[in-house]
C-alpha cells in the first residue's frame, strides 16, 4: 500500500469547512440612513457631487498623503428650512482586501460633526465603528494634526482600518478646503 502523504488532502478537507463558516454582515447603513444618523434635524439632502480636477486631486493628495482615485466625490448638502446644516461626504478607503465605505459629516465651517461606517467588508478591524474612537475626529478642521498613533489613538487589531480612515478624514477635510468652503473655486 502506498502511504505517501498527499499534501492536497489537508486543504481538500479544510477548505470546505472554512467555506461553511459563518458569513459577516457587511452593510451597517444605507446612504439615506447614514445621512439621517449624522444630520437628524435635516429636512433635505441635496446632491452636490464635486468634480475632482487634477489641481484639486493634487491639493487633496498633498495634504492627506493618500491617493485620490475617483473623478467625482459624492457630496450632499444637508439643509433645514433652506439653511445649510453641513456637508455629507461619502468616501471609500482601502481595507486590507476590500474597500471600506464611510461617510463624514462636516458642519458649515468644515469641522467634523461625525463619522459613520456604511459598508465594512473586512474580516477584522470592525472596531473602527466604535463611537469613542470616532469621537476623536469631532471638531477637527483642515490644518489640524490628524495622525494615527499621535493625535489619533490606534485600536490594536484594527490598525490598518484606523490608519486608512484617519487618512480618509484628512482627505475629506482637504476636499472641503478646496471645493466646499465658501469662496472655494
Amino acid at each position: 500500500m502506498n502511504d505517501t502523504f498527499h499534501w492536497w488532502t489537508v486543504p481538500a478537507i479544510v477548505i470546505p469547512a472554512a467555506v461553511a463558516a459563518p458569513a459577516y454582515a457587511v452593510q451597517y447603513f444605507t446612504v439615506a440612513q447614514a445621512q439621517r444618523a449624522l444630520f437628524p434635524s435635516a429636512a433635505a439632502f441635496v446632491s452636490r457631487p464635486v468634480a475632482l480636477s487634477a489641481a484639486r486631486k493634487d491639493f487633496i493628495q498633498d495634504y492627506s498623503g493618500v491617493r485620490v482615485r475617483a473623478e467625482r466625490q459624492p457630496v450632499w448638502r444637508a439643509e433645514a428650512d433652506g439653511q445649510l446644516l453641513g456637508w455629507f461626504v461619502l468616501d471609500e478607503v482601502y481595507g486590507k482586501h476590500e474597500f471600506i465605505t464611510y461617510a463624514v459629516a462636516l458642519d458649515p465651517q468644515g469641522g467634523v460633526r461625525g463619522i459613520e461606517i456604511l459598508d465594512y467588508r473586512e474580516t477584522h478591524g470592525g472596531e473602527v465603528r466604535d463611537k469613542r474612537w470616532q469621537a476623536q475626529f469631532e471638531g477637527k478642521h483642515y490644518g489640524d494634526r490628524l495622525r494615527l498613533g499621535d493625535t489619533v489613538q490606534n485600536i490594536s487589531g484594527a490598525t490598518l482600518s484606523c490608519k486608512h480612515i484617519t487618512e480618509g478624514v484628512r482627505r475629506v477635510l482637504a476636499l472641503y478646503e478646496t471645493a466646499l468652503k465658501e469662496g472655494a473655486d
Partner: protein, 298 residues
C-alpha cells in the same frame, strides 16, 4: 496511523477555528512581515511544503507544520508548532547524507516554540521592524528521512515597508540559525558509507526580500527570493543557494491561503559524485519547492 492522527488533529484545530475569524494573513510563503497579533488574538496555520528533484533518482518530501499563535501583548506574539514529514526517495545515495531508499507517510518530526516582538509598526511608524527568536527540536532528518536529533535556535529580523496606500508591500528578512545535531546509528549502511554519529554544530544564515501587490480585492500577487548558506564544523561553508519564485495570496471572509512556487536559481558548496547540475546545491536542497499555507484568525 500517524497520517490519520495528524490529519484529524489538523482538521479539528482548523474546524474549531472556523467559528470565528480575524485575518492576519501571511502574504508570502517563505518570508514574513513585521506585524504581530493584537493582544489576546489567536491564529492557526497549516503549512505544507513539497520538495522535489535532486537531479538524480526520485526524491519527493512533504513537510507539514500546524502552528498556533497568540498575542501576548500588542507587540509580542508567542507561537507553538507541531511538525511532520513524509518522504519517498529511491535511486539516490549520497555519502554522509542520504544512505539509501526511504519511504514513509506522514510522521511527526518535531516541534517549535517562537516569540516575535514588534519594535516598529509598518502602519503607524511608516517602517516595520520586528525580531523573532525560535527554539526547534526535530528527530527526523528532512533530507534523508532517517533518525537525527537536532536542536536549533534561530534569531530573525523582519522589516516591512508599505507603499501605495498599503497596497504594495515589501519585506526583508534576515535570520541566523544555530543547530546542534546528532544522528542515530544505522545498521545496514552501504559498505564504506560515512554516517557520522558524533555531534555536529551548524550555523545557517538566510537573507531574503519580497514584494507583493494587491491586484484585485482579496488577491495579492508577488514574488520572493532568499539566499541561504550553512557553515559546519568540519567542512566550513557546506552549502549556499539562491531561491526565488512567485507567490499568490487569496483571502476569503473566514480564511486565507498562500501558494508559493520556489525554484533554486543558483547554488554551491558540496556536491555529490556524478552531479550534473553543478551550479545548484542538491544535497540538502532540491531544485524546487511548492508551499501551501492556510490560515485562520480567531
Amino acid at each position: 496511523m500517524h497520517k490519520t492522527a495528524f490529519g484529524l488533529l489538523a482538521g479539528l484545530l482548523l474546524a474549531g477555528t472556523a467559528l470565528s475569524t480575524r485575518a492576519d494573513e501571511n502574504l508570502f510563503g517563505y518570508l514574513s512581515g513585521a506585524e504581530t497579533l493584537p493582544k489576546g488574538a489567536k491564529e492557526a496555520y497549516l503549512w505544507v511544503t513539497h520538495r522535489t528533484d535532486k537531479g538524480v533518482g526520485h526524491y519527493s518530501a512533504y513537510d507539514v507544520t500546524a502552528e498556533y499563535e497568540y498575542g501576548l501583548t500588542p507587540r509580542l506574539t508567542g507561537a507553538v508548532a507541531l511538525k511532520g514529514q513524509s518522504i519517498d526517495t529511491h535511486g539516490i545515495v549520497i555519502d554522509g547524507y542520504v544512505p539509501g531508499d526511504e519511504k514513509y507517510g506522514l510522521r511527526a518530526s518535531g516541534f517549535e516554540a517562537k516569540l516575535k516582538y514588534k519594535f516598529l509598526s509598518p502602519l503607524i511608524d511608516g517602517f516595520g521592524l520586528a525580531s523573532t527568536v525560535a527554539l526547534e527540536h526535530n528527530w527526523l532528518d528532512p533530507h534523508s528521512g532517517r533518525d537525527k536529533d537536532t536542536t536549533s535556535l534561530t534569531l530573525g529580523l523582519q522589516m516591512q515597508k508599505n507603499f501605495l496606500d498599503d497596497q504594495l508591500i515589501s519585506v526583508a528578512n534576515f535570520a541566523v540559525e544555530s543547530t546542534y545535531a546528532v544522528r542515530e546509528p544505522i545498521a545496514d549502511l552501504p559498505p564504506g558509507f560515512d554516517w557520522p554519529t558524533n555531534p555536529e554544530m551548524e550555523i545557517e544564515l538566510t537573507g531574503g526580500a519580497g514584494l507583493t501587490y494587491r491586484v484585485a480585492p482579496r488577491w495579492f500577487v508577488g514574488a520572493e527570493t532568499f539566499y541561504q548558506t550553512e557553515f559546519e564544523t568540519e567542512v566550513g561553508q557546506e552549502r549556499w543557494s539562491w531561491h526565488a519564485g512567485p507567490s499568490v495570496h487569496y483571502a476569503a471572509r473566514s480564511w486565507w491561503v498562500t501558494l508559493t512556487w520556489l525554484r533554486q536559481l543558483r547554488g554551491g558548496g558540496e556536491t555529490y559524485p556524478g552531479q550534473t547540475d553543478t551550479d545548484l546545491h542538491l544535497i540538502e536542497k532540491t531544485k524546487q519547492e511548492v508551499r501551501f499555507k492556510l490560515g485562520y484568525n480567531f
